[in-house]
């Protein structure tokens, strides 16, 4: 840890903190990215040096990585200080900053962008890597999803070594990528988006599904028996020995119970008993604004971030049955410029309730809803959306920059 850092790395760390602080003070964000960039210019091996001697877990996947990282951090804090990139800066610059800011932390829980998994494996020598799911996301600038799974598989084959992989047994792409590793802990974390895994990632034949079980009709790739799973009834996780751990999460939805199952599996590899970890997950009320509840003019808004088709379907699964829904869609660079994916989302479950659409690409949403015969009104921004609904609870679903715009309206609520 930082007490043993070479002088150059110490200097780089000091500069990193200064740059991050300056960036924050001038209102340019939390400074994670610029700080990390400055530090890595001065000492290109800074991430590796800062990670050395710590017990690291990397968490990656298309959806749920920020929340799972938050849960994991809460669980690991039972046994020590944890460095984490809680601001969602999930590339090496952000990881470097997270470690530099927590010099005394023995543990590190790092959310990792899918495309940087290999680099992080090599630099941070993690004890555990958690792989949540893979589905289509930002297709105009990212890799198609099977190609990404292939890249993971290759990376893990080369670099996983003694790392234990915690992987989702319900996602065929994840199973295929993780099955090259020697040590895998399987979690039945669910998959409500199956459109990207109709065919076998290994051989291209059809996957047969029998309830939760799936198998390839040709090469035999199949769902491994999970050690951890979300209980079929109630809100609990079932551990490897069959014991049941009640969750009582504040975060909504089955998908967050699955994230909790993954976090408990990770924590247990670090020596934290699930019975000790579970109550800590229940204390998490929101994650970088996600699931936050804010109030304005008698309307209680719950903010849900959903970046891709799987995320939108998950959020429709979470929302209460009756309140009005505000949908906000942008297509700026980090969102992806292509909005075609909204046709992969089924909006028919929203029919019959009040739906308000906004965001840069609200017209795209209006046309989409018309096709699904869902009535809607179109407004300019979140303020107008609030004015357009009656006082009471309101569910807000937005993609990445649309979500950040709404958070900004509420003082960057966490």
């Amino acid at each position: 840890m930082s007490a043993n850092l070479p002088p150059r790395a110490k200097f780089a760390t000091a500069l990193l903190r200064t740059a991050a602080a300056l960036s924050r003070a001038t209102g340019r964000g939390d400074g994670s990215v610029i700080g990390g960039r400055v530090g890595l210019i001065v000492e290109p091996r800074l991430l590796e040096l800062l990670a050395d001697g710590r017990h690291v877990v990397l968490i990656s996947g298309t959806n749920g990585k920020t929340t799972t990282t938050r849960f994991t951090t809460a669980a690991l804090e039972a046994i020590g200080k944890v460095a984490t990139n809680s601001f969602g800066a999930n590339m090496p610059t952000g990881h470097t900053t997270a470690l530099a800011k927590a010099p005394k932390a023995t543990y590190a829980a790092l959310e990792c962008d899918e495309h940087y998994l290999g680099q992080l494996l090599d630099a941070a020598h993690p004890k555990v890597v958690a792989l949540l799911n893979l589905s289509r996301d930002q297709l105009d600038r990212a890799m198609e999803v099977t190609a990404l799974a292939a890249k993971w598989r290759q990376t893990l084959q080369v670099s996983a070594g003694q790392t234990t992989v915690v992987a989702n047994a319900d996602d065929p792409l994840i199973v295929w990528a993780a099955s090259v590793c020697e040590r895998v802990v399987w979690v039945a974390a669910g998959q409500n988006w199956t459109a990207d895994s109709a065919i076998c990632p290994n051989c291209g034949s059809h996957l047969d599904r029998f309830g939760e079980f799936w198998r390839c009709t040709n090469c035999g790739l199949n769902r491994p028996s999970p050690q951890w799973s979300v209980a079929h009834t109630g809100e609990a996780v079932v551990g490897p020995d069959g014991r049941r751990y009640e969750l009582n999460l504040q975060l909504p939805g089955r998908v967050n119970r699955a994230n909790a199952a993954t976090a408990l599996a990770i924590a247990s590899l670090f020596g934290v008993e699930p019975a000790q970890a579970a109550p800590r997950l229940a204390e998490v009320a929101s994650v970088a604004g996600r699931y936050a509840k804010v109030e304005r003019d008698g309307r209680q808004l719950r903010l849900l971030l959903a970046k891709n088709p799987a995320g939108w379907l998950e959020s429709f699964d979470m929302i209460e049955k009756d309140p009005p829904v505000v949908l906000s869609l942008n297509a700026r660079e980090v969102d992806g410029f292509d909005t075609s994916w909204i046709y992969d989302v089924d909006f028919t479950s929203l029919a019959g309730r009040k739906v308000v659409v906004t965001g840069d690409r609200r017209t795209d949403l209006a046309v989409r809803l018309e096709v699904d015969r869902v009535d809607y009104i179109v407004v300019d921004d979140i303020r107008a959306a609030i004015a357009a609904v009656a006082p009471g609870p309101v569910e807000v679903v937005a993609n990445y920059t649309a979500f950040q715009d709404i958070r900004a309206e509420f003082n960057r609520v966490n």
Partner: protein, 239 residues
């Protein structure tokens, strides 16, 4: 109308459905129902037979591996070629468009296509990603086209097909033309919900399927699709 129930076949969504391809099926069904035409959407997986005698066939886009598998299975099956020969309307997107041609490239090699359209596809030097727009073929009466493209292929048209549009923004086939048509078969690089952004193209396919002139379809309220079109054309103009 000459048909009571319109049977729309969406081919191989298990292999070719990458960029909201379902959107075209949804838009066609929506616009048919708005005219009082019943619709029976049929999703045909690549391990099922392609139905003979449906009224309209759709095929979407996808990655190289699934594209090659889809072409092989469609060639074995044979029904899509016969439907096209019989004058049934076909809309093919991106990878699906390429495989209707004589040949296409995937996984670094050349594959035989279905030969339904007189065209050949190979690889471009760079990937074409972004908004695409242009003037639709005058014979089709579809007006200006607007869409989003994301493909590495380039397509060379033979003499037996016409371009779907002349490109004014984006790449399409080769930077000059976009898509192709012959008879009632249309191929395009405009992926995903191309028909949401081009309602006249959707109505053209419907009119072919139903067997009437496009102008005889009752008008429907296209306020929001027209606003979307204006927005996308405006977004092409540099600020």
């Amino acid at each position: 109308m000459s048909i009571s129930t319109l049977r729309i076949v969406w081919l191989y969504p298990d292999l070719l459905s990458t960029y909201g391809d379902r959107g075209n099926l949804l838009v066609l069904a929506h616009r048919a129902r708005a005219r009082g035409i019943d619709v029976e959407p049929m999703q045909i997986r690549s391990d099922q037979h392609v139905p003979h005698g449906a009224d309209l066939y759709l095929i979407g886009g996808g990655e190289d591996g699934p594209q090659a598998v889809a072409a092989e299975r469609l060639l074995d099956d044979g029904a899509l070629g016969k439907a096209a020969e019989a004058g049934k309307p076909v809309l093919a997107i991106c990878a699906g468009y390429q495989l209707l041609g004589e040949s296409f490239y995937a996984n670094g090699r050349c594959y035989p296509g279905l030969g339904i359209l007189d065209l050949r596809s190979d690889r471009g030097e760079s990937r074409a990603v972004g908004e695409i727009a242009g003037e639709g073929a005058p014979q089709l009466g579809i007006g200006p086209i607007t869409g989003f493209e994301n493909h590495g292929g380039r397509t060379h048209l033979g003499e037996a097909v016409q371009p779907l549009a002349r490109v004014s923004a984006g790449i399409g086939n080769d930077g000059a033309t976009e898509g192709a048509w012959a008879g009632h078969v249309i191929g395009t690089y405009m992926h995903g919900p191309a028909l949401a952004r081009n309602p006249r193209l959707a109505d053209l396919l419907l009119s072919w399927a139903v067997g009437v002139a496009p102008a005889s379809l009752p008008p429907i309220d296209d306020t929001w699709p027209e606003r979307l079109r204006s927005e996308r054309f405006a977004a092409l103009t540099p600020e």
